[in-house]
């Protein structure tokens, strides 16, 4: 079972659109999935056809957790029951975090218990050089890759 952990969701982010689209597609497959998110904007123009839980429920979740939010990724460290933890580096956005410290990167991106997912081969190449080899390459939250992850892990 796959749980996607998200920060606040509104209409502004392409990665939210693709994540929800993928979750909606997973609803028609044998892969169970859900969304962990605290705030979903009522003005969201696309519908979410899957189970949605508050973020706190993720801490008791025993499936595979994936997040594409670098700032939320430290939550993965406190999800003791999670079968696997993945950080999807959808945007390569760590240089844009204000006052980013290497200690934070070290704690999350270089953590042995967190696997990385890249969005493309070129991203994967950069991520491998800077941090570690991504375990999967998933273009725009491709639901087929989510099914593959669910089957493999």
């Amino acid at each position: 079972m796959i749980g996607i952990l998200k920060g606040d969701m509104d209409n502004g982010k392409d990665k939210d659109f693709f994540a929800v689209d993928s979750l909606n597609k997973l609803a028609y497959t044998t892969t169970s999935a859900c969304l962990f998110c605290d705030i979903i904007s009522p003005e969201l123009t696309f519908s979410i056809n899957t189970n949605v839980f508050k973020r706190a429920h993720m801490f008791n979740f025993n499936g595979i957790v994936i997040t594409d939010d670098l700032m939320r990724s430290q939550d993965l460290l406190y999800a003791p029951y999670a079968k696997k933890r993945f950080l999807y580096l959808y945007h390569l956005d760590w240089p844009y975090i204000q006052d980013i410290k290497f200690a934070y990167i070290n704690r999350v991106l270089l953590n042995d218990s967190i696997e990385l997912i890249a969005r493309s081969n070129s991203h994967a190449s950069l991520i491998e050089r800077l941090f570690k080899k991504p375990k999967y390459i998933m273009p725009e939250w491709d639901y087929k890759v989510l099914v593959e992850i669910d089957n493999n892990e």
């Binding site: 240089p95 980013i100 290497f102 200690a103 990167i105 070290n106 270089l110 800077l130 941090f131 570690k132």
Partner: protein, 288 residues
């Protein structure tokens, strides 16, 4: 012996404090950092009665004049001239090398960059920090020229950038503490010195460096992208040259270019031979 060091943003103060901290047991020293924002100088003297005080010239105010009249102590001053209007004169003046060379008949020590051995001695290679080129942006202003230089490096080489000055490149991995910085230096193949400090630390860690500013004659320098590329290719591919350069740099750093040597010189001028000898002995032990 109590030595008070103000905890202000003057790097040499912290470097001296770190050196003294490492010899405090064998010399019975008590180096103390003084939080100047919370402790007035009169209270400091009432509570600790220091034997030696390090001061920045900006701290020579009326309260200090009162202290001079009431307490017996010696002090080391960081500034550009010996003050003439104080009851107690500093025993040593820490100043720029240019000013130090012009002052005769007084104990003036030129502040220069050197290896921060107390911070970096235990540096270890770490796979997660490894790189071909390391750039530390502490005390570096990211101008257009520097940014273009970093763009070139990140496109051509496996480069990692760390430090206080933010660089809007994916290879920038954030701010580092002194231990992380040391491990990053040790885990790189070449260090690019943009701040006039990292080359000495890299030399101590036996990592070759390239300097944008000539901080000493023996360091390899560059002044544009093409000379940088030539120098980098040499250091990355020519093992013999790399080894010779590392040995030369290490020899120079051991010959008086660590903060232990500078601290020893200061305490020698201060007449504290025991402390000066302990500092010299300590660095000799580390480098022998």
């Amino acid at each position: 012996m109590k030595i008070i060091i103000p905890n202000i943003q003057v790097p040499i103060l912290h470097n001296i404090a770190q050196c003294l901290e490492s010899i405090k047991v064998q010399t019975s020293l008590e180096p103390l950092l003084w939080n100047v924002a919370h402790k007035p100088i009169l209270d400091l003297f009432d509570e600790t009665s220091p034997d030696i005080l390090l001061l920045h010239i900006s701290q020579l105010d009326s309260a200090f004049s009162m202290v001079c009249q009431e307490f017996k102590f010696r002090y080391i001053l960081i500034g550009d001239q010996f003050p003439t209007n104080l009851p107690i004169q500093p025993d040593v003046l820490l100043t720029s090398p240019h000013v130090a060379s012009t002052i005769k008949d007084c104990n003036a020590v030129g502040i220069r960059s050197a290896a921060k051995v107390a911070q970096i001695h235990n540096a270890r290679y770490r796979d997660t920090m490894s790189s071909d080129i390391l750039v530390n942006t502490n005390n570096v202003e990211i101008t257009t020229e520097i940014f273009d230089l970093l763009c070139f490096l990140t496109e051509e080489y496996n480069t990692k950038i760390v430090g206080d000055s933010v660089v809007k490149l994916h290879h920038y991995l954030g701010q580092v503490n002194m231990f992380e910085r040391a491990d990053f230096l040790k885990s790189s193949k070449v260090v690019l010195d943009l701040n006039g400090e990292d080359a000495w630390d890299a030399s101590y860690l036996k990592i070759p460096s390239l300097c944008i500013n000539p901080i000493a004659d023996h360091f390899l320098t560059f002044n544009n992208v093409s000379t940088l590329r030539v120098q980098l290719e040499k250091l990355l591919k020519d093992e013999s040259l790399r080894k010779t350069y590392i040995d030369t740099c290490y020899k120079h750093v051991c010959e008086g270019n660590t903060y232990y040597h500078i601290a020893a010189q200061i305490f020698h001028y201060l007449g504290e031979k025991h402390i000066a000898e302990s500092l010299s002995y300590y660095i000799e032990e580390l480098t022998s």
